[in-house]
Symmetry: C2
Subunit: 254 residues, 2 copies
């Protein structure tokens, strides 16, 4: 993959339990933050059920549109874990039923234990994939083409993600600055539209908040160029000063 300024990724969350409302997803914001820190722009997230057709369809659509596709979930030992079958279908590639390095990693995690047929299922890996280590329970994730396949259990996904971010091409990191404005969105909307027009290379987002302590608007300035953010932030602050609207730095960003 050639280096370019913007590297994009999509995340495919495989999980019936999130779609049914049984479980609140914990992985999206962690992965979004990890990618943001290495300058990879998370451009789409999809959540689909544990079905081969649904997963393979989404993978094939997303891997053509984005530089990377990360998936979470569906690589466990049970009958409803069909992600590896779906990835093999998407890439039209056979599955190595007992990948020797995967089996070895699992044996090292459970020394002296017999690995039954269910656990061995977790050593199934599509041909041509490179393993992603899992120090917690051995059974690895993998990377095939521009697709990274990870576990859905948050603790395991996080250890996998730590080694995945070191393998991805990185883009220019997007810096951000967030300012809390003590005014409703409608009262600052025109000023923000003008500011956006004058600072086209800074993405200006506005997010209303309603908290017990009061309500207002977070204005978030984002750009790969920190100087441009500072210019836009100064312009915003003098606009607010002129209108007598209170504001405060919300977080430093970086």
């Amino acid at each position: 993959m050639t280096k370019h300024d913007t590297i994009t990724a999509a995340l495919l969350v495989i999980g019936e339990e999130i779609l049914s409302g049984r479980t609140q997803d914990e992985n999206i914001s962690y992965i979004a933050g990890s990618l943001d820190r290495i300058g990879v722009v998370l451009s789409e997230v999809r959540i689909v059920p544990d079905g081969i057709a649904e997963i393979a369809g989404a993978v094939n659509s997303l891997r053509q549109q984005f530089d990377y596709v990360l998936t979470t979930g569906g690589i466990g030992p049970t009958h409803d874990d069909v992600t590896t079958d779906a990835i093999a279908t998407a890439f039209d590639t056979p599955i190595i039923e007992e990948h020797p390095h995967a089996l070895q990693a699992m044996r090292e995690c459970f020394p002296g234990e017999e690995l039954g047929p269910s656990l061995r299922r977790m050593a199934r890996v599509p041909e041509g994939a490179e393993l992603v280590p899992n120090p917690i329970s051995g059974a690895p994730g993998y990377m095939i083409g521009n697709v990274v396949v990870m576990a859905g259990v948050p603790q395991i996904m996080r250890t996998m993600m730590k080694s995945v971010v070191r393998r991805l091409d990185t883009g220019k990191r997007i810096a951000s600055r967030s300012i809390r404005v003590d005014a409703i969105e409608g009262d600052v909307a025109l000023a923000l539209a003008g500011l956006q027009a004058e600072h086209p290379d800074v993405k200006i987002g506005s997010y209303p908040y309603f908290e017990p302590s009061g309500y207002g608007t977070y204005v978030v300035l984002r750009s790969t160029d920190a100087d441009l953010i500072e210019n836009a932030a100064e312009a915003l602050c003098s606009l607010l000063d002129n209108h007598g609207t209170p504001y405060a730095e919300a977080d430093a960003g970086s």
Copy 2:
């Protein structure tokens, strides 16, 4: 729309701030739960940035695949709120710039206040849409074709969702039963695969958990027929009894 046993929906979350990792989504699990309670099967979730092309593309793809599409976000007063433009693009329909009922609802929420041009932007509604009331801040959501457009602010989305669920066709409610098994997934995987084969009309899901108090597996049985769930649950419990594996009811479902 004709009545059928299974009614499906997709959710489109419009939010740059979730993709950047700045904000944790709070809406998906609420909407998933609300749909589950009226027997509508949430079949896919997508999160896309605040761009007209991205939103319109996703809406047009999803509204052909599912009975309903619900969207959240991007209908505020600021320049980065482009959902209504995207919906009008997707449906190739003009926008009523100041929908009289929308304006009236906003005036009733802020009696005596002048509605400036930014707030009036929230009265923009695609032609042919029916309004969804917003008792909190007046500015309505709307329904056009099989697409429901709601605010992204969780408090406002929730009040909109309460009236939306009364307008949707409802399906057969999916009942569920959840059993916590004190064994790792690998140790129950074969038994569950056998159970699934014997009870094809019950969807048997298995979700490992790793908590400070210990680890194990949640087994979730789901079906539109509660009797079938009971049969499968009995079979599961006697399998576990025979193997001396401890388990407990995890939640009642219904």
